[in-house]
Symmetry: none
DNA sequence: GTGATGAATACCACTTCAATACCACCAACA
DNA sequence: TGTTGGTGGTATTGAAGTGGTATTCATCAC
């Protein structure tokens, strides 16, 4: 038996369901690095037998890890550790959170990551002078491998010195650098897709897109991130619950 | 037993009914933050047994909290703390509020107020059958006498029997009828203006408009209002503030 | 007396958790 | 190249716990 397996302990007397106890412990094991990326987890049957629960219970625990993007399943083959995507559960971006809630599989594809000079609007909103450098990130957001949004981020050089090292979550990366985004203002608007946006988002030219502009602030109160997301609205609704 | 449960004390000798005493104490506990938003309360049976009252008594106390919008019940699942007003993480500033903040003068102009039959989507989302009547309100929203939005509302007949009597704020009118909207779900999307929308909003045809769909709920938990607002985004945009 | 209210009981309907059994797919190997 | 053993996928079931409700009775105000 793998050392990790022998460490797992479930308690039926507890009020929290067995599958949640198991999910929680598996998340901790994965985040502790018990398995390499791409490595296979114990099969559902092995997991179930070694813990004296039914396969369904083990399976439901794994369901949660799939929803969190921690593991990937292949029918007939096995369950594998996913490339590091959302390995920290503390905060999910509203984008991925919403897609996961709706049962989709979110992913993203980088278009570019480079240094450059800020536009007038960027220097104004980020509070950096026009001759300072900024990091630019541009990527496609996908749900089940269909493009649902085009996203452009701009960060002051002092916040993100090297855009090339960002691999998955920008916010997680900023946290690991010690400068997390703690608050954000978001503008919502609508624009007609120009030729380039239409090509990237795979919609007809002049199609209406939802434009969300997000200005994120660091803990010290200074702006640290300006992100514009162009969303296809046939796949993605931004939902807000409010009270009055 | 939860610490909160052991603090609850009822006195049958008092003149105020048991269920009111309990409701009062639960309100205080919730407002003191004894439970997180979304967390499950003790079940009605647990509540009843630990206080030595019948389940009906505990249930009637919870009824009052539901009416206050503090908790939400799910048949077969449990009773949960509702998202709190002043603790809501996400807030979408209202139309008039935003315009006034920016120094504009908001006004509106009625296009129509009449009774009709609901569309399929309306009957689904409002929970009224297709052969019942609904009240329809349609108006232009203006800032400094310039059209900035076209707004269409649809309400069940039982909520608004006579659309003609609404003069200014729909929500204020509903409050005066004793059926205020206490919570709302809002979808944000983008659409291309068709010929009629373009004419009303005074923009070129196929111009991208921000489409906000708002489903308002009454205190009893039933939907009471469905409003779709088509906003011009060249004059202003809506802002969402979020903390993470 | 009579109706309204508070409180209790008993039963119903729904959801969740966990289990069993069986199906569909993949990959390695004879 | 087809067989076979192990993999994930899923339909169905049952028990336990949850809120929903009809009925009944005691009490009190009028």
């Amino acid at each position: 038996m793998q050392p990790t397996l022998s460490r797992l302990k479930l308690d039926a007397a507890q009020s929290t369901p067995l599958y949640r106890q198991l999910a929680q412990q598996l998340v901790e094991a994965i985040e502790a690095g018990d398995w390499e990326t791409g490595e296979a987890l114990p099969s559902e049957r092995v997991l179930a037998e070694s813990l004296n629960v039914s396969r369904i219970t083990a399976r439901k625990a794994l369901d949660r890890l799939v929803a969190l993007g921690l593991i990937q399943r292949t029918h007939g083959s096995g369950t594998f550790i996913a490339p590091r995507l959302n390995q920290s559960l503390t905060r999910l971006t509203s984008f991925t959170e919403l897609l996961v809630q709706r049962g989709h599989r979110p992913s993203s594809r980088w278009l570019s990551r480079q240094l450059g000079t800020p536009t007038v609007e960027e220097s104004l909103r980020l509070g950096v002078s026009a001759d300072h450098q900024v990091s630019r990130l541009k990527r496609l957001r996908l749900a089940d491998d269909v493009v649902v949004a085009v996203e452009e981020s701009c960060l002051p050089h002092r916040v993100l010195p090297d855009p090339e090292v960002v691999t998955h979550s920008l916010y997680r990366h900023l946290e690991s650098l010690g400068t997390p985004i703690v608050r954000a203002l978001q503008h919502v608007s609508a624009v007609n897709a120009d030729a380039e946006l239409a090509r990237l988002a795979q919609v007809p030219e002049s199609q209406a897109l939802l434009m969300m502009t997000r200005l994120g602030y660091l803990a010290d109160g200074r702006p640290g991130e300006l992100t514009v997301t162009y969303c296809r609205t046939d796949y993605y609704d931004f939902m807000v619950e409010l009270t009055q």
